[in-house]
Structure formats: structure tokens, C-alpha cells
């Protein structure tokens, strides 16, 4: 395996880790206004991801940094091309973080209501826009000879990409609902479990539509043929397993299953792209590939050594933090003010 392939895999891992982890905390932010019947419930809901959301978001920062270092042209084309969508994602992440941190600082109703809007919209927008962005990458963008995006904003908002946004939005929401069922108790827990079960069929219909249209819409999946292959099969089976586990009341397994759906669904996308990182819809000669977009071998080698040392350490202490806060959040644990 050459260095470029290794780094393509690593960046895929970072994005997939981000979707898995921030996926459920987006879902919690989206569900917060709907599953809570009062202020205490809202605080319980937010506190289920309290110690985690920030570290989950660092997966994105790291993916961005790694992309900059390993594939500067990918980083430059992607973020200048998706200029306004990325701006919206950044604004959303800003107000969301501030919503979490500042919400309980003041008692006034308007203050907390504003924070609730920050948290809700700050979760909806990125959950939707990441799907739009990745679908667009897969379909191919008008990338010119100089590697720069030559299209316009409306081109990014094509129907198939919007459907892709809907896919990530509803999938993260389901993932978040099941996460909530693991971190809450009593009535709130019963409500999120019911919500998750109700969501399963509509989410499945959206996923299926997206997958079937994918054969027609994208050049990248032609190689798959009629039989989709191993990775898509695992994604499909995982999604089917979600409802089975929920029905026998094993929400821990159901969470693993939504996680697997996200992981393997994303893997399909990255596998389909490889070795391209940004296909050009104008001319195959203008494709950005892992080779023409990459840094020098020296940079990739140094980065590889660092990644091999630090990624396991990070996984260890981040995992430990989940273990420290493994208890469910109860209504009694919420301060009265």
C-alpha cells in the first residue's frame, strides 16, 4: 500500500469517526425540543452529550487538518468550492457550541429559548449539509483545469444532493434517538424509544430511495454492478438489525447497528470514490486523485509516524471518558436553577 492510499484511508476513518460520534450528538440536538416535556427534560437531554460533544467535533477538525497536510489540493478545492455551505456549517457549529455552554448560565426564559434554537438549528444544518456536500463530491463537480471549482451555488443544491442531505439528517437523528435511550431513564427513555421505533420505516424508505437512485446518478458506482457487494450488504443488514434489536428491547445493540449503518454506508462512498478524491464533471483529466492532490512523500511519511503513535492514544482516552460518564442522566441530577 502506498502512502497516498494509507492517507486516503486515514482521512476516511476520520470523517467516518466524525459521522459516527457527532452523528449521535447532532441527533440529540435535533430531538431535544421534541422529546422533552419540560425544562428538566431538556437539560437531561443536553447533559447526555455534555462531556462528549466537543471531543466528537475534534474528529472534524482533525480530518480538516489531515486533509490540509496530506492532500492540500483536496482541502483547497473542497473548501473554496463549497464556500457558502461550509460557511453555514461553521456558523451552525459556532452557535451550537455556544448554545450548549451558555444555556444554563442564565435563568431567563428568552435566554434559554435562544440557546434551544442555537442547539436545534446548529444540529440540523450540519447534519443536513454534510450529506449534501458528500453527495456532491460523489456525483462530481465542475472542476476546471486549475483544480478550482467553476460552478455556482445552485449547482450544489441539485435534487439528488438534497436527498443525500436528508439521508444524513434522518440517519443521525435515529442514531441520536437510540443513543438517548441508553443515557436516560423512565418516561423520557420511553419517549425516545418510541420515537426511534416510529422513525425506522421512514428512515429506511429515504435510505432505500437514495441508494437506488445512486446507481443512476453517479458514475462512481458503475463498477458495483447489480449485486452491491460486501460493504453495502453489511450496511443494509445493519439497518435491518436496528428494528430487530429495538423490538427485543436491546437498545445497546441497536445503537451498534445504527453506528454500523453509518460506518459502512460511508465506507461505500469512500470506496466508490477511491482513488479519486474529487471527480470533475467536466473532464476526466481534471479529476483530483489521491496522487495529483497529495503532498510529498516526506510529508506523508512524517504524518504517518505521528498518526500511528497518536491515534491509538486518542482512542484510549476518549474511550475512557465515555466509561467515566457511563451512568444514565436522571432528572434528580439536574440542579434546580
Amino acid at each position: 500500500m502506498d502512502l497516498q492510499t494509507f492517507w486516503f484511508i486515514l482521512i476516511a476513518v476520520l470523517f467516518i469517526g466524525y459521522f459516527f460520534l457527532e452523528g449521535f450528538d447532532f441527533g440529540v440536538g435535533i430531538l431535544m425540543p421534541f422529546v422533552s416535556k419540560d425544562e428538566v427534560d431538556r437539560r437531561v437531554t443536553i447533559n447526555t452529550i455534555g462531556p462528549f460533544w466537543d471531543a466528537n467535533e475534534v474528529w472534524l477538525i482533525t480530518a480538516g487538518g489531515a486533509m490540509f497536510a496530506a492532500f492540500p489540493h483536496w482541502y483547497a478545492t473542497l473548501f473554496s468550492g463549497f464556500y457558502l455551505p461550509l460557511f453555514l456549517i461553521l456558523l451552525a457549529l459556532i452557535v451550537r457550541a455556544v448554545g450548549f455552554e451558555f444555556r444554563s448560565k442564565m435563568k431567563e426564559r428568552w435566554w434559554r429559548l435562544t440557546a434551544d434554537h442555537f442547539i436545534f438549528w446548529g444540529s440540523v444544518l450540519p447534519a443536513f449539509l454534510w450529506g449534501v456536500a458528500f453527495t456532491n463530491i460523489v456525483i462530481g463537480l465542475p472542476i476546471g483545469e486549475d483544480m478550482n471549482f467553476t460552478g455556482t451555488l445552485p449547482a450544489l443544491l441539485n435534487p439528488y444532493a438534497l436527498l443525500g442531505g436528508l439521508v444524513s439528517l434522518v440517519m443521525f437523528t435515529l442514531h441520536g434517538a437510540i443513543f438517548l435511550s441508553l443515557r436516560t431513564t423512565d418516561e423520557l427513555k420511553a419517549r425516545v424509544e418510541k420515537t426511534a421505533k416510529l422513525m425506522w420505516i421512514p428512515v429506511g424508505v429515504i435510505l432505500l430511495t437514495f441508494a437506488l437512485l445512486g446507481y443512476r446518478q453517479t458514475i462512481l458506482f458503475e463498477e458495483f454492478g447489480i449485486i452491491p457487494g460486501t460493504l453495502p450488504m453489511i450496511a443494509i443488514v445493519s439497518f435491518l438489525a436496528v428494528i430487530v434489536f429495538m423490538n427485543i428491547n436491546r437498545f445497546g445493540y441497536a445503537f451498534a447497528a445504527t453506528g454500523a449503518t453509518i460506518v459502512f454506508g460511508s465506507l461505500v462512498v469512500f470506496q466508490g470514490m477511491f482513488p479519486l478524491v474529487m471527480p470533475s464533471s467536466l473532464d476526466p483529466d481534471f479529476h483530483l486523485t489521491i496522487y495529483n492532490a497529495s503532498s510529498s512523500d516526506l510529508t506523508l511519511t512524517i504524518m504517518s509516524v505521528l498518526a500511528i503513535i497518536f491515534v491509538p492514544i486518542i482512542l484510549a482516552y476518549q474511550g475512557w471518558s465515555y466509561w467515566v460518564f457511563r451512568e444514565r442522566v436522571t432528572r434528580d441530577a439536574i440542579p434546580r436553577s
Binding site: 437539560r43 447533559n47 455534555g50 462531556p51 466537543d54 471531543a55 467535533e57 475534534v58 477538525i61 482533525t62 480538516g64 487538518g65 489531515a66 486533509m67 490540509f68 497536510a69 496530506a70 492532500f71 492540500p72 489540493h73 482541502y75 483547497a76 478545492t77 473542497l78 473548501f79 473554496s80 464556500y83 457558502l84 461550509l86 460557511f87 461553521l90 456558523l91 457549529l93 459556532i94 452557535v95 457550541a97 455556544v98 450548549f100 455552554e101 451558555f102 444554563s104 448560565k105 442564565m106 486549475d146 483544480m147 478550482n148 467553476t150 503532498s295 510529498s296 516526506l298 510529508t299 512524517i302 504524518m303 505521528l306 482516552y317 476518549q318 471518558s321 467515566v324 460518564f325 440542579p335
Partner: protein, 456 residues
């Protein structure tokens, strides 16, 4: 305005705003860790109250540092795609390392610290805040490594119109990094120190838990006194290094048009960049030679000479930075730096005399210092970054050549207004919260009783 100017304004606004919060968190994280260490070692409940009081303010400020930092991570690609392509091989490495070695530690262990008062053994909980403090400062090291390379590019070779990595060790040991990193971090320590000192002074003036806040005032005084002295000496190192590596920046900092030997340090001047003159100047003879080379006889080169030399190397063009801005930013930074040393040692002297808590003028001065530290940090950053212009990578890539060709004026207007508006609202909210919780004073604590299981 054209897309280039707008992109520069946006970068300037978002970066200066980010740099309001970052230096404060560099110093404040360490001070909160020190306060908690005092609590851990002595068991004095007052230190626990102080830890929570300043810890709460730290988290408010840290949040804004984080969210504005996310924008920084992506806006190189958004607005400066050609820059990103040119430098990615080198500049991307410290950014990626920063995420791997600093951001993950900060975010994970801050979560553990905020929510872990009841869950973790005392020593482990203390270790969490130390890890946050160390990682915050470590992230400053990495980002300054990236910045130092823009100022003084080393360890690269130009391949196919891009700077490719040739020698990683050279970048790690970039001379600019070795002087700029301690200077910037120590400036952050002054900021954190003055913040703790000023808020403590405010509480003492209000006679609210004065006995408790006298303890934090004393810790902050020692911390600030040491940091302010070392900031001055490392600043001197950086000036000497700048003379060698970026003579144009140094000449602009001094408004020095013609080469002089020996050279005087300018105290005041009216700069006219069009005509290339500095008038109504007040100068201290020999002092610039001292600043630049540590002796009273050496030559310091002026802007006209350096401009001519750069034209010879890089072709015709205007290689002058905005001289008046650089000149005055430098004076504001140095003037305030001297003021911080005076205030810190004035406070130490009052403490020694046993009059610290009664000296109204000193206590009020300390409160004002909180605001002046931000001005000093911003001015210092302006010297470093405006003084680099018109280059984005010094003598390798012009700022004008780094901008994204695919991002148009209207888009940048939208994002600039959007960021500025949201940042403005957040600044008001954060200032209000710091004032509101600052005013409340420290919560009474009981040994062994933890109340805030969930803070959100």
C-alpha cells in the same frame, strides 16, 4: 472593494477576534490549574472556591476560543486556496499535529474536568485541568510553528510551483519559532494573570469575599510579574531575530526610511507612506542599534534600501508594508508591555508593605489592565502579520497570489457580514456572562459535598 481586499478583511477580523480569547485561555488555564493545585496540596476550601470561580469564567472564554478556532482551521481552504496549495506540504503538518496532540486532549479532558468533580479521584481530576492547560499551550506552539514558517520559510524546496518539505527538523527548530513562541505564550500568561488580578481586585474593592480574593490576587501578581519581565526579554530576542530575517518589518516598525549607523529609536513620528517620510520625530539616539544588535554603533537598514534590494531580486513592485500601522502597533505593544511590568512590581511592593488590599488606586488600575492586555496582544499580532505584507509567505508568495480564484466578491460579503455579526453578538454575550458571574463572587463550598453534577 475587490475579492482580495475583502478576503483579507475577513481573515483579519476573524483572526483578531480569535486572538482576543486565545491568549487569555493560555494564561488562565494555567492559573486555574495552579489554584486547584493549591487546593489539592493545602485542602484550603478557599482555593476550591477560587478554582470554580475562575474555572467557570475560563470555560466561557474557552468556548469562544474553540468556536472561532474551527473557522480558522477551514478558512485557509475557503478564502486562500492558492495559498493552501502552495504551502500545504509544510503548513498542513503543524495543523494536523495540533489537532492530534492538543485539541483532542483539550476537549476530552475539559469535559472530564467540568463534569468530573464527583466522578473522579481528586488527583485524577487535578490532572485533567493540567492536561487542558498543557494542551492549550502546546496548541499555541504548533500554530506558531506554522506561522513562523510564513515569516521565515526554512526547510523547503520549490517543486512545480509549490513549497515542498525538505527538512522537517529545520521547521521544528526555525529560529523565528524559538523566539516567537515564548514571547507569544508569555504574553498570554500576562493576559491570564491580569485577568485574575483585575477580577480579584474588583472583588476586594467591593469588599466581597475580600479575604479569599486576596489569595488569588497574590498568586496572579507573582505569575504576572515573572511573565511580564520574560515577555520583554523574549520580545528583545525576537526583535534581534527580525532584523536578520525580516529587515523590512523592523524598518517599518521604526519608520526608518534611510539606513543609519548608529540608529536612534523613534518615540513619535508622523509617517507619510506616499512621500516616504517620517516627520516631527522624537528619537532616542543609539537606542535602535541597541535594540537591533545589542551595541551602540551598528548599522540598521532603512526601507528605501531594502525596497531597492527586493526589486532587484523579485522584480518591480511595492514591497513596503503599511508603515504607519506597523509603527504605531509596535509602540502600543511595547508601551503597554512596560506598563504591565510597572503595575506587577508596584503590586508586589504593596504586598510586601502589607497594603495590597487597601490601596484603592492600585486595585482600580489592575481592573483597567484587563482591557489593556487585549490591546497589547492585538497590537503585537498586527506588527507580526501586517509587517509581513505584501507577502503571505515571506519573499516566496505574495498575499495577492494566495487568494481563492473561485470565490467571488458577493460570497465574501455574505460570509464577512455573517461572521462579524455572529462574533459581535457572542462577544456581547460572553462579556455579559463574565461580568455577571464575576460580580457574583465565588460560591460557598463545603468539603466533600459536590452539587453541580450536570452543568448544562
Amino acid at each position: 472593494m475587490e475579492a482580495l481586499e475583502l478576503a483579507r478583511w475577513q481573515f483579519g477580523i476573524t483572526t483578531v477576534y480569535h486572538f482576543i480569547f486565545v491568549p487569555l485561555t493560555l494564561g488562565l488555564s494555567v492559573l486555574v490549574a495552579i489554584l486547584q493545585t493549591f487546593y489539592y496540596r493545602t485542602g484550603d476550601i478557599h482555593y476550591k472556591m477560587l478554582t470554580k470561580y475562575f474555572g467557570k469564567l475560563f470555560v466561557i472564554i474557552f468556548t469562544l476560543g474553540i468556536v472561532t478556532g474551527i473557522v480558522q482551521e477551514f478558512q485557509f481552504g475557503m478564502n486562500w486556496s492558492e495559498y493552501s496549495r502552495f504551502v500545504g506540504d509544510i503548513f498542513g503538518i503543524p495543523l494536523a499535529i495540533e489537532a492530534l496532540t492538543a485539541f483532542f486532549i483539550e476537549s476530552t479532558f475539559l469535559g472530564l474536568w467540568i463534569f468530573g468533580w464527583t466522578r473522579l479521584p481528586k488527583a485524577v481530576h487535578l490532572a485533567c485541568i493540567w492536561l487542558v492547560a498543557i494542551a492549550s499551550n502546546l496548541s499555541a506552539v504548533w500554530i506558531l510553528m506554522a506561522n513562523s514558517w510564513m515569516q521565515v520559510p526554512v526547510g523547503y524546496e520549490l517543486v512545480g510551483g509549490r513549497a515542498e518539505l525538505a527538512d522537517f527538523i529545520a521547521i521544528l527548530l526555525n529560529e523565528r519559532l524559538l523566539v516567537q513562541m515564548p514571547h507569544t505564550i508569555l504574553g498570554g500568561f500576562i493576559t491570564g494573570g491580569m485577568f485574575v488580578l483585575g477580577l480579584s481586585a474588583w472583588m476586594i474593592i467591593r469588599n466581597q469575599q475580600a479575604e479569599i480574593f486576596l489569595k488569588s490576587a497574590k498568586i496572579a501578581l507573582v505569575f504576572t510579574a515573572v511573565a511580564s519581565l520574560l515577555t520583554a526579554t523574549t520580545g528583545h530576542d525576537q526583535a534581534q531575530e527580525t532584523v536578520k530575517t525580516q529587515p523590512m518589518k523592523m524598518a517599518a516598525m521604526e519608520g526608518l526610511w534611510e539606513t543609519e549607523q548608529p540608529a536612534g529609536f523613534s518615540l513619535f513620528a508622523i509617517i507619510n507612506q506616499q512621500e516616504g517620510t517620517s516627520s516631527r520625530e522624537i528619537r532616542l539616539p543609539y537606542m535602535l542599534s541597541v535594540l537591533a544588535h545589542n551595541n551602540v554603533t551598528s548599522e540598521v537598514r532603512g526601507m528605501n534600501d531594502i525596497q531597492a534590494e527586493m526589486e532587484e531580486i523579485h522584480g518591480p513592485g511595492d514591497y513596503l508594508p503599511p508603515v504607519a500601522i506597523v509603527y504605531w502597533s509596535f509602540r502600543i505593544m511595547v508601551g503597554l508591555g512596560v506598563l504591565f511590568i510597572i503595575v506587577a512590581f508596584w503590586g508586589l511592593w504593596l504586598w510586601w508593605k502589607g497594603k495590597l488590599q487597601d490601596h484603592g488606586l492600585f486595585l482600580k488600575t489592575s481592573i483597567v489592565m484587563i482591557f489593556l492586555t487585549f490591546l497589547a496582544n492585538t497590537a503585537g499580532w498586527m506588527v507580526a502579520e501586517m509587517g509581513r505584507q505584501p507577502w503571505v509567505v515571506y519573499e516566496l508568495l505574495l498575499t495577492a497570489d494566495g487568494v481563492s480564484p473561485s470565490v467571488f466578491k458577493n460570497s465574501i460579503w455574505i460570509t464577512m457580514i455573517g461572521f462579524t455579526f455572529v462574533y459581535g453578538v457572542l462577544a456581547v454575550a460572553a462579556f455579559y456572562l463574565v461580568w455577571y458571574f464575576g460580580k457574583q463572587g465565588a460560591h460557598e463550598e463545603e468539603e466533600g459535598v459536590e452539587t453541580n453534577l450536570h452543568t448544562y
